[in-house]
């Protein structure tokens, strides 16, 4: 490489380094995302092997407003997201800090912690269903062993939502842990050293030094977990199919029924847009609350 070229390469590095990323996103995300918008206001039918679109914004809106299970699914989804993400953040943060404090075996501990995210979702759903089983499940075996009456985890309207939340917490705490563990490990050593010399106790160090420095990583972990929790589908579908009644009906399950099982592409797209708006609104609300504090 001659000098001029090298300099030009160097001078524009911060610009061209974005191109590959832009390229992938434009090629694979723009069309599907943008197609969703006109679709949400149309009715799609396949007749004679040809797909026909007709513009029916009113019909789709009426479907949305008249949807009997939509309200339940929205409130369940909000509860599901808030509770599961809260538990995942607390547990993940706790494990990240304490494993980082361990004098050795940190690598091994991290490997063990991520085992749940290595399992395929279909196996997780099927296996947890066995664990929750009323007659033979692991949890009721434990309850019986200590003399407590068996619990109806999935079959009672009061417990089913929390039962599916527990599976989500188990499955995804490792993701939060991984992001936060990396952030804890790369904390500037001199700051921690200074805190120690100042005689700060461990809790003081965590509260006053570590947590504020972890802010951005906490935000990213919470952001991505919240988005994914809004879309949670596989396990809930396998565990309860949204029942009993509507007690575990999430908007993602409802979307799956409309878009996929019933093949109502137009109204399905409308529901997808609703999901996206819901996520965006909740994220802005969260950000607003965080900024105010």
């Amino acid at each position: 490489m001659n000098r001029g070229l090298a300099e030009r390469f160097d001078g524009t590095f911060r610009h061209w380094s974005l191109w590959p990323c832009l390229g992938v996103l434009v090629a694979l995300s723009v069309y599907p995302v943008l197609q969703l918008v006109p679709m949400a206001f149309s009715t799609l039918e396949i007749v004679g092997g040809q797909q026909t679109w007709s513009f029916t914004p009113r019909r789709n809106l009426e479907l949305l407003l008249g949807d009997a299970v939509l309200r339940d699914s929205i409130s369940n989804t909000l509860v599901f997201v808030v509770v599961s993400v809260a538990f995942e953040m607390v547990l993940g943060l706790f494990c990240a800090i304490f494993i980082a404090c361990m004098p050795r075996w940190r690598g091994t501990a991290r490997t063990i912690m991520i085992l749940p995210i290595l399992l395929p979702p279909v196996a997780i759903g099927s296996m947890w269903k066995l664990m929750y089983n009323y007659d033979f499940g692991l949890f009721n075996q434990m309850l019986r062993a200590v003399g407590i009456a068996p619990a109806n985890f999935l079959g009672s309207v009061d417990w089913s939502l929390m039962a599916v939340v527990a599976v989500d917490v188990w499955h995804w705490t490792p993701l939060v842990f991984l992001i936060l563990f990396a952030a804890v490990e790369s904390l500037p050593q001199d700051v921690l050293e200074a805190a120690r010399i100042d005689g700060a106790s461990m809790w003081q160090t965590i509260r006053l030094v570590i947590l504020p420095l972890l802010g951005p990583a906490l935000a990213v972990a919470a952001l991505f977990r919240a988005i994914a929790a809004f879309k949670a589908f596989d396990q809930v579908y396998l565990l309860t199919s949204g029942g009993p009644g509507t007690s575990t009906e999430l908007i993602s399950l409802h979307l799956n029924r409309v878009f996929f099982e019933q093949n109502q592409l137009g109204y399905g797209a409308m529901l997808s847009l609703t999901v996206i708006c819901m996520i965006a609104a909740s994220l802005s609300a969260g950000r607003f609350a965080a900024a105010k504090r």
């Binding site: 004679g48 092997g49 949204g242 009993p244 009644g245 093949n263």
Partner: protein, 448 residues
């Protein structure tokens, strides 16, 4: 031999007699064909199908690739296959509930367009003609309908019961729902032994497993869809009798988690010996006879679905369909038809049954196989056939299922009274049928 003469008469084509050890079974000679590829789901009957396909490859030298797909991914892959310029599969396997979408969409090839001379052998079960499509009437019927495919597997519900325990209690095999309730009362001891189980899980589970009650009570979802009369009749007194009976049995006899009881739970309860009676699909049979999976080997018996006193059993069909996509070259379509011709011969169906499949020819059920102990389910299956019914055979089927799947489940868990659940379902179904321009209405509300 009966099998031979019937098959020969049915085809009128060259029929080859393969000299197998068990029987001189007839197979069709279909000549050299290009390789084909089949989209098929993993299932308890897949092993039997695979063995049959291997025999086809050996006999004819033609190649068949099987893309074994998870059940949960079948509909998506089938939909994808018929989009775009070229289908990657020459035969698609689609569930009965999806057929309307594919028939109406015009994405499949009717068999007479591949070979005008092709006709199904008389013995092949057509499961209430779900493999024919009359486009003008928008209804699945051979009356004015085109042949769109055939069933590789026809599932129906049967009543499984513990023959040993029922006998030990001095009771007769159950024939009516009253018998089921009596056996549950006398020989059931929850939580050690549940008297009767069937699915109560929201969605397809409860909808499908309640249908035998509904049909048996003489109720129906809509009045006469075949003639275009979509008046909603799900809130009839007969339907309420059916729902009361179902909810009563589940509350009295099934485990406390009956509101989420799914197929897996059902098989688990039956094969561990925790359930005395259970209504499930015939496809579950092999699970109960396998020592690695079951504690009740040799103890389970099957009977046709029970009826209401003086009524007929309400047998509901859940069959699969082999269909040929439109977006294929002509020689591939011919090869797919050639395989089909061979697969539907008496010889192939016999191999299919021996391999663990559920055959789709009536003569297989009346053959010597039916007398063997391991095929003791065949009698219940054969006896059920005259009563077997398709339900939800219209475009709005999946939406109706969602409505019923929720409201029935709410009645089961006590969130709604049975009358209120059916009234709500009727109103919602009428609404969605009206939106699609159907001729509809509904019965007067039931008392809530």
């Amino acid at each position: 031999m009966k099998i031979r003469s019937l098959a020969a008469a049915a085809f009128g084509t060259a029929v080859a007699f393969a000299a197998t050890a068990q029987a001189q079974a007839p197979f069709a000679d279909v000549g050299r064909q290009p390789p084909i590829s089949i989209l098929i789901n993993s299932s308890p009957w897949f092993a039997g199908f695979e063995k049959t396909v291997e025999l086809y490859e050996k006999q004819t030298g033609n190649k068949v690739a099987l893309d074994v797909t998870p059940f949960g991914g079948m509909l998506e892959k089938a939909r994808n296959a018929v989009r775009g310029a070229n289908s990657p599969y020459d035969i698609l396997n689609i569930d009965t509930q999806w057929t309307i979408e594919f028939y109406e969409g015009g994405t499949l090839t009717p068999f007479d367009e591949i070979d005008p001379a092709f006709a199904l052998p008389r013995e092949v079960l057509t499961y209430q003609d779900s493999n024919y499509w009359n486009a003008a009437k928008r209804w699945r019927t051979r009356d004015g309908g085109k042949l769109m495919g055939y069933s590789p597997n026809g599932n129906i519900h049967v009543l499984y019961y513990r023959g040993d325990l029922v006998k030990a209690a001095g009771l007769q095999p159950p024939k009516t729902w009253d018998d089921v309730a009596a056996i549950c009362e006398k020989a059931g001891k929850p939580p050690e032994m549940y008297g009767f189980v069937t699915r109560g899980e929201r969605g397809n589970g409860i909808r499908f497993d309640w249908m035998p009650f509904m049909i048996g009570a003489g109720a129906d979802i809509v009045k006469a869809p075949a003639d275009g009369d979509y008046t909603v009749t799900i809130n009839s007194p007969a339907a309420k009798t059916a729902l009361d009976r179902y909810v009563g049995l589940m509350k009295r006899c099934a485990p406390p988690n009956h509101g989420v009881l799914g197929q897996g739970d059902l098989i688990q309860l039956l094969s561990t010996g925790k359930a005395l009676q259970g209504m499930a699909v015939i496809a579950a049979w092999p699970s109960f006879e396998d020592r690695t999976k079951s504690a009740v080997v040799g103890k389970m018996d099957a009977a046709p679905v029970p009826s209401f006193p003086g009524g007929k059993p309400g047998v509901v069909i859940g069959n699969w369909h082999f269909v040929v996509p439109k977006n294929l070259p002509a020689e591939k379509k011919k090869a797919a038809l050639a395989f089909s011709r061979w697969f539907l011969t008496a010889g192939a169906q016999r191999e299919y049954a021996l391999g663990g499949g559920i055959p789709v020819r009536s003569d297989t059920f009346s053959s010597d196989l039916a007398t063997r102990p391991e095929f003791r389910w065949m009698k219940a299956y054969g006896d059920s056939q005259p009563f077997a019914r398709q339900e939800l055979g219209f475009a709005e089927g999946a939406q109706v299922e969602q409505v019923l799947g929720l409201r029935l489940n709410q009645a089961l868990i006590g969130e709604l009274s049975t009358g209120k659940a059916l009234n709500m379902a009727a109103a919602e179904i009428e609404e969605l049928l009206k939106r699609n321009g159907r001729r509809t209405g509904r019965l007067a509300n039931l008392p809530e």
